[in-house]
Structures are given as C-alpha cells and as structure tokens.
Symmetry: C2
DNA sequence: GGTTACCTACTTCAAGTGTAGTATGATAAT
DNA sequence: ATTATCATACTACACTTGAAGTAGGTAACC
C-alpha cells in the first residue's frame, strides 16, 4: 500500500462515509466545500482506481465507485508510516502533539483509550 | 510552515542529529544508506534553503548548512497536520496504531508519557 | 430526428519531487 | 604552469499531484 495524496484521500474519506457512490453524489454531498469542477473528481477517482483503492462499476448512466480499502485498514497502514517517517514511536508522536498544545478533551479521550487498551488485556 | 517531502525530511533529520554540517559529511555520516549521488544532497539542501528550513554559510571550501527549524518545532507542526489530514484526534490516531498492532513496549512508553502529562498537572 | 444535457475517457498543464548531470570555479598535486 | 580534484550553482528530466479542458457517446426533449 502507498500513502495517498491529499486530494485523493479526501475522495476516499467521502467514499468511506457514504459507501459506494457516484461522482456527482460525492461532489454534491461531501466534497462541495472544495469547490472542485465535476471533472476533477473523476480524475481523482480514476487515479484511485488505478491504484486499486476503489472499484468501478457501471450503474445505469453513471459510474459507481466502491472503496476496496477500508478506512480502518488505511489508517492502520498510514499511522505506522507516520511513525516511521519522523517519530519512531507512538510516544514521540504524542509528545509532539503535547508540545504543540493538546486540548484537555483530547488528552482525556486518549487517556480513556489507553485505559481500555490496557484494561482490556487484564492488567 | 509546509510539510516536507520524504527526501528533504531525511536531510533535516540528519541535520537535527548532527547540527550544522557540510553536504559531504551529511552524506557520509548519516545518509549513506540511501545511496544518493553527492549532487543529490546538494539539491535537497538547496530546496530546503529556499523553503527557509536551513541557512547556508561559506565555511572554507565547503558550504555549511544550519537548521533553522528545530526538530521539536517541526514535529509539533507535523503531528497536528497528521491529525487534520485523516484522524481528527490523538485518540483516533492511537486507535489506528493499536489496530495495526502496537508493541507492548510502545504501549507502556505511551502510558508513562500520559501519566506524566496528566500527573504533571496535579491530580 | 436534431438539439440539449450529462457522463465518462482521454488529454493537458503547471508545480512539486526524486534523482542526478553539466558547467564552472577554486584547490592541490605534479 | 598544467592537470587532476572537488565543491557548488545551475540545468535536466521523468514522474506525481492538483486541477481541469476537450471529445465523443447516450439518453431525454420537443
């Protein structure tokens, strides 16, 4: 797997949220804020298809694109790539966030998750 | 600040580790594993200089490059960019790592950091 | 049944990245 | 001085990414 560029990732995020969908619907329902031309979405979807991230199927007059890589799967891959690239360990990553000023809410959320990850394993 | 491409980041990592240094020394001492041609380093350093990440100074017969952006500073910026791009919160990022299989050691390190971040704040 | 509207496939184009070659000037070695 | 060496600045070039334009098919419209 390879890391996706920003724009393609945005399209994937839309697909992960909505499930299989047409370019037009994606643009109107999820990607409107980017202000892309209709064709632009098609370009990104074609590239994602090339890379094997989505499948294309003809559905009536439009194409229907289906994600082939799940959000969880991609995140698992990407998060590890992030560490390898610059941080080395989860600890260093979170330390960097802390320096930048992690919100109190974020900190608590994280703590809760850690408790769960550890507690789940039974001490 | 903008996120750096992989190769430029590798050069910055070398500079962060070694401090101000010449291209040749960087290549031989830190970047040899990449097998780059000598000129390649120069290109990356020139690009980093353009972007304001390093300063150049003439030192005898060679150039000496000094990092202008600190590792901590860059990491603080980058880590937040990572969240914005895909995860939304530290929690989600760590959850992704956990799915991918975080090591026991990594987990403990992280837990210790969290204790410290929280404990330091009293309570 | 020609025009309109929409859709996709293909092409384009500029900027950024990965990687290095060439030209040129200074230095060191004969 | 002449030549071999090395460092730097500039140039090159293929590939990727961000963004969209164009061409050509099908369906709907009147």
């Amino acid at each position: 797997m390879k890391r996706l560029p920003d724009t393609e990732l945005e399209v994937m995020k839309a697909l992960w949220t909505t499930g299989p969908d047409t370019p037009r619907a994606l643009l109107e329902e999820w990607l409107a804020p980017f202000g892309w031309a209709a064709n632009t979405i098609n370009t990104y979807l074609a590239r994602l298809a090339d890379k094997g991230f989505v499948a294309v199927r003809r559905e009536g007059k439009s194409n229907l694109y289906t994600p082939l890589v799940g959000r969880d799967e991609y995140q698992a891959f990407d998060s590890r790539a992030v560490l390898d690239r610059l941080y080395g360990s989860p600890r260093n990553f979170v330390a960097a966030l802390a320096r930048e000023g992690m919100g109190q809410d974020e900190l608590e959320e994280l703590q809760a998750l850690l408790d769960q990850l550890n507690g789940g394993r039974g001490k």
